[in-house]
């Protein structure tokens, strides 16, 4: 009798785990794929524009600001569409945690980038370095706290950014923009493919 109850309890816990994991995978992967693709395109287009605008420091600031606004707007549109069309929806508290985590980091990156842009002795190439170090740090924190897979992405990003800053500063924006841009697009495509299989 005791063993029967224990067995049933174990089976029920297994069922709960399976259903919760499957649902979370479905909920988490839909919007994430497209948002990742949007930010990948943002990196590639941003770097291409930066190359064109590098001689005009002020124009570069306008360019990145416009791109950030466009990418945030596109991400919100994806989120809204997801909320209307998906059969299961994420809890608002997860979105709130996500925003509370990334907003201060983005603010930090933006402030540091602004200081670099306003300091003539600093090369503008450091702007992309600083932004990517901040993003990599975000991935490292999430990786250390929650998901090992993200820890590896963060470590690779951090390592590549530091290497580029030391050895290829002049071309670091192209190298890192392409690396992060293509990486994000591939991640988005993989997430979308996984989502279709859920």
């Amino acid at each position: 009798m005791k063993e029967d109850q224990r067995q049933e309890a174990l089976e029920n816990i297994e069922l709960i785990k399976e259903v919760v994991l499957h649902t979370k995978k479905h909920v988490g992967s839909y919007g994430g794929g497209w948002i990742s693709i949007i930010w990948g395109v943002f990196c590639l287009v941003g770097v291409a524009g930066q190359r064109l605008f590098i001689p005009q420091g002020a124009l570069m600031g306008v360019w990145w600001t416009a791109l950030v606004v466009a990418a945030i707007f596109a991400s919100i549109l994806v989120g809204q569409r997801y909320h209307k069309t998906q059969p299961v929806r994420a809890q608002h508290r997860y979105l709130r945690y996500f925003l509370r985590f990334w907003l201060p980091l983005i603010l930090l990156g933006y402030t540091l980038a602004l200081f670099i842009a306003l300091t003539p002795s600093f090369s503008n190439h450091y702007i992309s370095i600083v932004m990517l170090l901040v993003v990599s740090t975000g991935y490292l924190i999430i990786g250390l706290l929650f998901f090992r897979g993200i820890l590896y992405i963060g470590s690779i990003g951090y390592f590549c950014t530091v290497l580029s800053a030391i050895y290829f500063l002049e071309y670091s924006d192209i190298i890192l923009g392409s690396l992060f841009g293509v990486g994000l697009i591939i991640t988005g495509l993989v997430i979308n493919k996984q989502w279709k299989n859920t």
Binding site: Q5, A9, V19, H22, T23, V27, V88, R89
Partner: protein
């Protein structure tokens, strides 16, 4: 002793289909009727009766909405439902702990 714990298991949740419904709703903000039906491989009638029981216990709320002129039935877990589910999980763990492995 274990009999006593088994009695404590919430009967509104302690059933495979309802456990599945509650698990889906615990992992998301709200779930569509057809999604739950498909994932748990239930029929319309079967799912409706399980949802009615959960609704009667105030563990879920059910609303109908229209999206692009198509009706959608949305199920949402309540705070009472969350608490009941968490308590149910704790009781399952108690049962597992109360029986030695061999």
């Amino acid at each position: 002793m274990e009999e006593h714990i088994a009695v404590k298991l919430n009967k509104a949740i302690h059933q495979k289909a309802r456990l599945g419904i509650m698990s889906i709703l615990m992992a998301s903000e709200e779930g569509e009727f057809n999604y739950i039906k498909e994932k748990l491989k239930l029929t319309d009638g079967n799912l409706s009766s399980h949802l009615s029981l959960l609704e009667k216990n105030k563990y879920v709320t059910i609303k109908k909405k229209f999206f692009k002129k198509k009706p959608k039935t949305l199920c949402r877990i309540t705070e009472k439902g969350r608490q009941a589910f968490e308590e149910y999980l704790e009781n399952l763990e108690k049962i597992i702990r109360s029986v030695p492995k061999d």
